[in-house]
């Protein structure tokens, strides 16, 4: 009996130890599963008003009058030659698309790469990859490159290296040619061999970024960008964050437009894009991108009295304008820039799942874990104040807070985000902090649109995320000695938020909700 008692106590003890061990084992084994189960989910593109695509308020009458024709300029579909409208000619001989609007479309003219159709009903004015209706237009004999798909992003291709695979290159490899088009005369040139470039690991992509609000962005004082770079240095250093400005070689100001901050202003960006993406030579880049005989103007179909099809540059100042249409005097490039400059920044929308406190909690964590150290913005209740524009000669753009969530600097982002292309001071592993305004309505994320899930997009900021998760396709040059991603520590903190209680389950979910409200 005593033994039994003893035995009973002993069995209780054993049972207790076993139970505790099992519980510990369960916790040990299931802990990560639970943590994984608590990882936030992307609520997807937010519902509600589009919040972008309109013009800034407060424009004067003259500026207001420009908005309508400026929108028409952006929607202009260009052809190689012919037709009554000389302002439309000049496409090719190599090109990515035939209008600005075909790629800059989400969620309106001037936006980013359009989402697939059906994502948000018919609310989006454009859906699906528009290049699929461009590549074989007017009899063109192009083959659609393997990476352009109906539901995928409009991707622009670059080859980091020359054919020797050692000498740096990095220029855009335009997808299509005008060969075979009924307006292209005898031009006969091949497309790049994208299969070969891909096989050689010499092909990278850039997604189309939106340019809503860049009229504000381009006039932020350089001194403010530099002051922000030099703020919170100890905290940044403790998290491995640095960042540097892509300095313009002409005037020493801070270049800030484009994935690598390679352009100083909308005008600089648009002049290049018109030449590089549509092949339309202009007063900044006056020659054709391909000068193969038969592929340069004039073409046989040139209109008899036009002034745009006799030769280069196809897009230029037009002297044959009347006062009633004075706004037609500048070239397309300048007029596109007017459009971009007057576009309003994206307005944030409602918090997903209709719980505003979730988003405000998420914004607090966005600041506290360090996202805001690069994605600069004013955060209520903190010392982060964000940028404000100086007085502007377009009064409506002056003295405005710029809620862009970017420091406009370039940062080292690790080997798996690296594209091995150097632009200005941005090295092969450096990218500008992309502005997050309007991110709630974006479908494709990161410079090469590698994901449509905003949670994955965040985790991709960490060095080697792809490698660590067995995801093929790390584009970084394995021979390059890139430093770790500057975001590593912040992403580790983000991952830990999955175990922190929040308004909508976890603090991590709140942060995601906050981003999707932008």
């Amino acid at each position: 009996m005593q033994v039994r008692v003893l035995s009973s106590d002993f069995s209780k003890l054993i049972w207790g130890v076993v139970s505790a061990t099992i519980l510990a084992l369960l916790l040990f084994c299931l802990g990560p599963v639970l943590a994984h189960a608590q990882t936030a989910t992307d609520p997807g593109i937010r519902t509600g008003a589009l919040g972008a695509g309109g013009f800034v308020s407060g424009l004067n009458n003259y500026q207001q009058e420009m908005t309508s024709p400026a929108t028409n300029f952006m929607e202009e579909v260009n052809i190689v030659a012919g037709g009554p409208n000389v302002k439309r000619v000049g496409l090719g001989a190599t090109f990515d698309s035939n209008s600005c609007n075909s790629c800059h479309a989400q969620v309106g003219v001037g936006g980013g790469s359009p989402a697939p159709c059906g994502i948000k009903g018919s609310l989006f004015p454009t859906c699906g990859n528009q290049l699929l209706s461009v590549y074989n237009l007017m009899g063109a004999t192009n083959v659609l490159p393997f990476f352009e798909t109906q539901s995928g992003p409009s991707l622009v291709a670059r080859a980091p290296y020359q054919p020797d695979l050692v000498t740096p290159a990095g220029g855009v490899q335009r997808l299509f040619t005008i060969t075979g088009r009924t307006d292209a005369g005898t031009c006969n040139i091949p497309q790049p061999d994208f299969e070969m470039l891909s096989a050689e690991n010499n092909l990278i992509f850039r997604n189309t970024p939106p340019f809503f609000g860049e009229g504000l962005m381009e006039i932020i004082n350089d001194s403010d960008i530099i002051a922000n770079m030099n703020a919170n240095l100890a905290l940044k250093m403790s998290l491995g964050i640095s960042g540097n400005a892509n300095i313009d070689p002409d005037d020493g100001s801070v270049d800030r437009i484009g994935w690598k901050a390679q352009h100083r202003s909308l005008l600089a960006f648009i002049a290049e894009a018109y030449d590089v993406e549509e092949g339309i030579d202009n007063e900044f880049f006056p020659n054709k991108t391909n000068e193969t005989p038969g592929c340069t103007p004039p073409f046989p179909l040139g209109p008899p009295n036009g002034n745009g099809t006799h030769g280069v540059p196809d897009d230029r100042t037009d002297w044959a304008v009347l006062p009633a249409t004075g706004y037609l005097m500048p070239g397309d490039v300048e007029r596109f820039a007017i459009f971009g400059r007057l576009l309003a920044p994206p307005a944030p929308g409602a918090c997903p799942y209709s719980n505003p406190s979730s988003c405000s909690n998420g914004q607090t964590y966005f600041a506290s874990i360090g996202c805001v150290l690069c994605h600069t913005n004013a955060i209520p209740g903190t010392t982060y104040t964000g940028f404000t524009t100086p007085p502007s000669s377009i009064a409506a753009l002056g003295n405005q807070p710029v809620n862009l969530y970017s420091d406009l600097l370039v940062h080292h982002m690790g080997v798996c985000l690296a594209d091995n292309v150097t632009q200005g001071s941005a090295a092969g592993d450096e990218f500008k902090t992309p502005p997050l305004w309007g991110v709630g309505q974006r479908y494709f994320f990161l410079h090469d649109a590698r994901t449509t899930d905003i949670v994955t997009a965040i985790q991709e900021h960490a060095d080697g995320y792809q490698q660590d998760n067995g995801i093929p396709g790390c584009t970084g040059n394995p021979n390059a000695q890139y430093p770790p991603s500057e975001a590593d520590a912040v992403i580790a903190a983000f991952n830990n938020l999955s175990t922190v209680a929040g308004v909508d389950g976890t603090a991590q979910q709140d942060l995601i909700n906050f981003l999707r409200s932008l």
Partner: protein, 521 residues
Amino acid sequence: MVERQNRWKQLVVGRTLRLVTLAGGACLIVALTAVLWAQATVSDPGVRGINWCTGCANTVGTFQSTLTTQEQESEAPATTQFETSAVVTCNTDGSNVTGCGLGPRFNGNSCSSCHAQPVAGGSSPSGLPSGPGLCNGASCTNPLFQVYQGDGTDAFSNTMPSFETLYGPVLIPRFPYQSDLKTPDGTVHQLFTIAGTSYSGCTIAQPNFTQAQQQNNLVFRQPLPLFGDGYIDFIQNKDILNNLNANLSLKASLGIGGVPSMSGSDGSVQRMGWKAQWRAVLPATLAEEKVEEGISNELLPTEIDQTPGCVINAVPEDPTNYSYLYGDPGSTGKTGMHPWFFLADAERDAIFERFLERPETATQLLGAAGCPGGVQKSCTNGQTDFNNVGCVLCHTTSFTTPPASIPSQGHIVLNLFSDLVLHHMGSCLADNITEGAAAGDMWRTAPLWDVGQRIAFMHDGRTTNILTAIEEHADGWQKGHGGGCTGVGTYQNSEADAVIKNFNNLTVSQQQDLINFLRSL
């Protein structure tokens, strides 16, 4: 017997030595005479229109005569814009659509104050060291002396840096390195500020040029002439590259290479500026408006210096003038004047530059009278020698424009005498500044059309003698002549070394012909 033989030997040896000495001395005298004769006789006839050919007509500075009537009509507003002196303050209502936004740091207050020789759009103006009377009208002296303390509207408290002289060329200073003297800089450090009685709230100082000079961290560039740039704008890239790849074995035998300054944007050949750092007239003009005058524009929209108290205007200071949407503001019936002013100032400046006629040679204009000395054969022979010694391998005689969207600009033969690519020019021409593909010792082959009318030569205006300018192409020429070699790096030899050696091997007469040919351009 032996003694006699020895005496005989001594006599023979002695006389031989004396003869050799005499002959050597004679040779030396002849050689020295030849050198002195050469120095005395090969001379720079000087600036066409100033030192010789004073009655010659200038064809530069006018608009291309083949433009359409509508295009020609832009001459007046575009020329006015190019010659407008900018003031600091822009009206807050935007009513002064031209000529405001100067500073807070700047070099000059108008395009034409620096691009002036022999007329607006030209090269650096200056008098000649021998003084006024030899210079050409308004461009008699360095125009910065009329600018640096204000031109009447504004009063600034600048001091004139020592390197700007009353008769010297306009010099734009750059610092190759940052203050640690290691990290590359290379940007323009503007001469002047708006600080002074007109803008007492602005207290920024001029750069410390004295210190930079002591640290060997100060280099200069002089203004380039712009005549004909509207054609150079659209010479086909493939023509430039084909020319670069022509005569390769001959070039290699002379040590000549050359690389294009490729645009990182579209892979085309950049061709404007001393280091081919710009692709076209328009981006160059916008950059110059910002950097030289401190006027923010739509390409470079923020102020050049954002120190509180110095930012006087809203930015950009040179915007599209929306109120000229339909010509002049307030034209209710949309029947106003031509909408020139809808365009930003810099756009009109660029129109001026693109429509400037290309320079013609004096012999094209005047026949024999257009060649210094009045013998046309001298210039004809000079061009032959220019080709024979190898100058032409970089100073390419001509390119032809492709069909142009302004039809009259197409199919034009441009005798610009440049290959528009970059060459290593040795440590004594090096300025240690990298711009795009141009390393610290590389320069674009400067076009020579209009060289007959230029006053100062080389990127830093170091000489007014065209003969010296040629010799300066050779590596280490300065060192050999006690000059101030600015190079600090271990640069390769100048690609022009062998050609300059060939030039020096020409006879005096041939050299003079070659010089005459150049001065006829």
